[in-house]
Point group: C2
Chain length 373, copies 2
């Protein structure tokens, strides 16, 4: 099966092979070397010198850890809420009784720095801004660099969900002044799901150290302490995934992060052009280059489209989530997926749509994609 889904993404053979290596115990020099390399690889991925932590859990665990470990009581969190995952982070704040307000926006849009600056100016008790870099549910990216600038101007900390962006969209944690970045293993990192990664800079650590987190397993202070004690982990880590992460991060470094960003951008451009050419409008007003959401045309059942793509062409794309169920399909541009996969999948979409009675010029999508590349 060709996974063109926005996560999990295909795992390259050589990384799958790492998973099958005999078990290494985590309290050994061998494992400590592996975790050191993973940590350095993450610093490259996030373009940072900040502490990079590896936790056993999904991207949701990583983002929960970022929020509950750094949002100290006394100051409010501002959750920019423009999609399913953004809503989840507000739910996390609610569950952990973290004082928060939301900056709401239509799904498919991303509030700009001005709107966030307004919130920060209007309420000086806001100390934390929680934002989703790429909202996978709508294929929407925000202007993270600009948001980081206004957040810092207002002396707030910026906590970023980079699950569907790190390793696909340009992200320069230190240069942009982002304080906390969380991601998961199963998207641009070409790994199976099961690990979360969180980078925390010194400003965020100062906040974390100022209070006792209302969490235990997902409290990052324990991870930091263990890492500082010679690359240890506070709880038994998912060893095979960490071993595989070393390989994946090494290959990202070898390819060069800018080249990978450029590749995602090219694939996304091609996919958007193809969609437009065959009557599948791009859903997002600020489309992300890591995942493209295309509107399902009138009269086409997205489930039939996706099932036929799977059964007839071995291509898996995702449907809509939450209120977008049935209205969009989503195509990922992260990880191992390349031009051949993408062009092939776009061609398959044309074949299935044509046989489902959708009216368009056969070949127009792929042709537009080629031109866009």
């Amino acid at each position: 099966m060709r996974l063109l889904t926005p996560g999990p993404t295909p795992v390259p053979q050589e990384i799958l092979a790492e998973l099958a290596r005999p078990m290494v115990h985590h309290r050994t020099d061998e494992y400590r070397r592996i975790l050191r390399e993973v940590t350095e690889g993450l610093q490259y991925l996030f373009q940072t010198k900040a502490t990079c932590l590896t936790i056993t859990g999904s991207g949701t665990a990583a983002m929960e850890a970022a929020i509950v470990s750094t949002c100290a009581p006394g100051r409010k969190a501002l959750v920019v809420r423009n999609g399913k995952f953004a809503e989840r982070w507000a739910d996390v704040c609610r569950a952990f009784r973290i004082d928060h307000v939301t900056c709401d926006a239509e799904w498919g849009t991303a509030p700009g720095p001005d709107r966030i600056a307004e919130h920060l100016a209007a309420d000086p008790s806001i100390g934390y801004v929680i934002v989703v870099h790429c909202e996978t549910s709508t294929g929407t990216a925000c202007d993270l660099e600009a948001i980081a600038r206004v957040t810092r101007e207002h002396h707030a900390l910026l906590i970023v969900d980079a699950v569907a962006s790190a390793g696909a969209l340009p992200l320069r944690m230190d240069a942009w002044g982002v304080d906390v970045v969380a991601t998961g293993s199963q998207k641009a990192m070409m790994l199976p799901p099961g690990l979360g990664f969180v980078a925390v800079n010194d400003r965020a650590w100062a906040a974390a150290e100022s209070f006792s987190s209302p969490a235990y397993y997902n409290c990052l202070k324990a991870y930091r302490k263990a890492l500082a004690a010679d690359f240890d982990a506070p709880y038994t880590p998912a060893i095979p995934l960490v071993v595989a992460a070393r390989k994946a991060l090494a290959s990202i470094r070898e390819e060069g992060i800018e080249n990978i960003w450029a590749k995602s951008s090219r694939l996304a451009r091609a996919t958007r052009a193809a969609g437009r050419a065959i009557g599948l409008h791009v859903f997002s007003q600020q489309p992300s280059d890591s995942v493209t959401a295309l509107c399902v045309p009138e009269g086409i059942d997205d489930k039939v489209l996706r099932t036929r793509l799977r059964n007839e062409h071995g291509v898996m794309i995702a449907g809509g989530q939450g209120k977008l169920q049935g209205r969009i399909v989503r195509i990922g541009h992260m990880g191992q997926v390349d031009a051949v996969d993408t062009l092939g999948a776009l061609a398959a979409i044309e074949l299935v749509l044509a046989s489902m009675g959708h009216t368009f010029t056969l070949g127009a999508g792929v042709t537009a994609a080629l031109r866009a590349m």
Copy 2:
């Protein structure tokens, strides 16, 4: 390397191979079938008809989930605290502001049902008893069946850390009336670390439904809801580990849980007999059959012993944790480890100890082990 550690334990070749299979997407019928089989396999493992949930995280995450999802405000938790992991569950209660008291006991002992009954009788506001079935840090097992009986007599819920017991020590959740059982993948289940499993019966669900948990990622209600919705997961699961879990649980069922319990018991008996015969006293007063803690004799440096075992014989055993560091070594009897591994490791321990100047009759340990078998 032969992992005779009490977790992670060796992962059989055929289970490692499962990890390297091409990625399956979790929103597919294929994955749902896998999760259904895992769920049924867990019911067999725990000997229960209760809901069995698979969460992405370590055993600590599973146990945290068990505690924070079921300990409703208004009633106190009683944490039986007799070792490092028991202490951790009191720390979890503290972090999540769960009202709790402790029943403290010396490391290497396990409070009996009478002591727990005394606590329950003295303080009727205790609604939850949190107990470690096998305290890995000391190699101590409690009388879980009897504790379950007194807990139920006092109308409290019993929450059990079975990380180092499920699949090694007799555990009959339904027959004994245990309400919540949590375990991790990396011990008796012959899997790599990275998954936690929690079984929750109807009495515990009633408690869980009575309040809003102070957690998000580790709140079990979301897992239950997703499982009920056709074997789904609330957050992207560690797919390869779940695929491997299916294989491991099938092999446990094939071998027969009573046979596995008997095997652990035989290996533990042999290890204790060997230890006694060569002057390595059994640390615990109520030794567990899943892990044996042996006291390091006077004049022997445990680090040198363990390093030489690794380097000269490819055998890894664990040292002590916390205040037992340097005082004990720990040998696991869980998972794939069998008589050959155990007898070989005991023989290697004799060889190393003899060359380190420890006085004993060479061969006495292995001979005693053979007799005990």
